[in-house]
Amino acid sequence: MIKTLPALFEEFINTSGLNYHAIKLSKNKFLGFAFNEQEIIDMIKKSGLENSQIVNIYFAQTELQEYYKQNQNSVISIKNKQYTLIDNIIVQIPKSLQSTQIENLDISIIALSKYKIPINFSSKYISIGSSYILSGVFLLFTLFNITQISYNYYNSLNNIPTKIKQFKRSVNLPTTMLQTKSIIKSMENISYKQKRLRETLAKIFSLKYQAGVYLLNCSIKNKQLTLEYVNGDINKIKILLSKSYKISKIVKLKNSVRVEIKL
């Protein structure tokens, strides 16, 4: 019915920018309304009222029907304007034809009907349809995010910690990372010391026959390396060894030279 209203009103008024509303009176009888929604909104604004203070908006045409059933042909005055019912239509009486016999109607006593006008107080930049579509898009996106969130938290709180536990068990790692790191550190120390020991021995052995020094004994214990050279020149030995090591003690014995090196 609302789709045909613009065509019906076109004949009488300029229908651009108008909204339409229809009320069913009986089986094939409708009451059609053409109104300017923006004018209504502007009037509400002018009156100083907030949109939130407006519960519903009604047409006087529908709300005064009951009053006029009991008070036919009466002229009512609402806020210095006079209205009467002519051919079942409530019309405003022009000032020049205003009557003196009027009824001052208190509209607050009128019991309101179910026929509300659908006014869109929302922004003129977004229509009702667009806002529903946008809401739908946001909700779908939210749903998608919730799925991702569930997946991420399931993995981070459940899946991955379980994988870590299983992996640790499979390679016989200690239960805590602290223990593991501590063991790694101690083994790295061992690696370093053993590597140093072997490098030192390799170097000492390579000096064995250099420049007439002959290694008789060699012992290594607790970071202390003790070497005994046969008939060696103490100075030569000192020069040879001090290049690479810190000599803590060098002693000339009866037939040999004893050198103590701190590793």
């Binding site: 946001f138 996106f141 939210t142 969130i149 991955i160 790692l173 593991t180 790191k181 290594i220």
Partner: protein, 130 residues
């Protein structure tokens, strides 16, 4: 205050969307932290296994020493086991054999606690228990 339901729905859905984006970022961070933890565990485990395999051959030390002495035909070898150490004494007149023995021992990944080399004797202590 907005009266119309569609505007309320739009605001509510957009807020919900924003919150979900924020929570999603948080969840991604949590996931990345766990994934990094997992990767770190693998790296640490690899290092641990490598070092353990290198230095924890407690079962094989005795056997390896026996094999070395057999291969070099070093007959005078004694191996004593204490709580944590293997005390090895080798007496060999051949300097060549002695040299080879020492080289082979040093080439193995034994944890050598002490080593003493004299003309015909080698004494060493190898740690077998960590």
């Amino acid at each position: 205050m907005i009266k119309n339901i569609h505007m309320k729905l739009l605001i509510f859905s957009s807020l919900l969307c924003l919150i979900s984006v924020f929570v999603l970022q948080q969840s991604k961070t949590a996931l990345n932290v766990q994934a990094e933890k997992y990767n770190n565990t693998i790296v640490i485990a690899e290092e641990y296994t490598r070092l353990k395999n290198l230095w924890d051959e407690s079962k094989d030390i005795h056997q390896k020493l026996t094999n070395i002495s057999k291969r070099l035909n070093v007959k005078n070898i004694t191996i004593k086991k204490t709580k944590k150490l293997l005390k090895i004494t080798v007496q060999e007149s051949s300097l060549v054999k002695m040299d080879s023995f020492i080289n082979r021992v040093l080439n193995e990944s034994f944890i050598i606690e002490s080593l003493s080399i004299t003309k015909n004797k080698v004494q060493l202590e190898i740690r077998y228990k960590q």
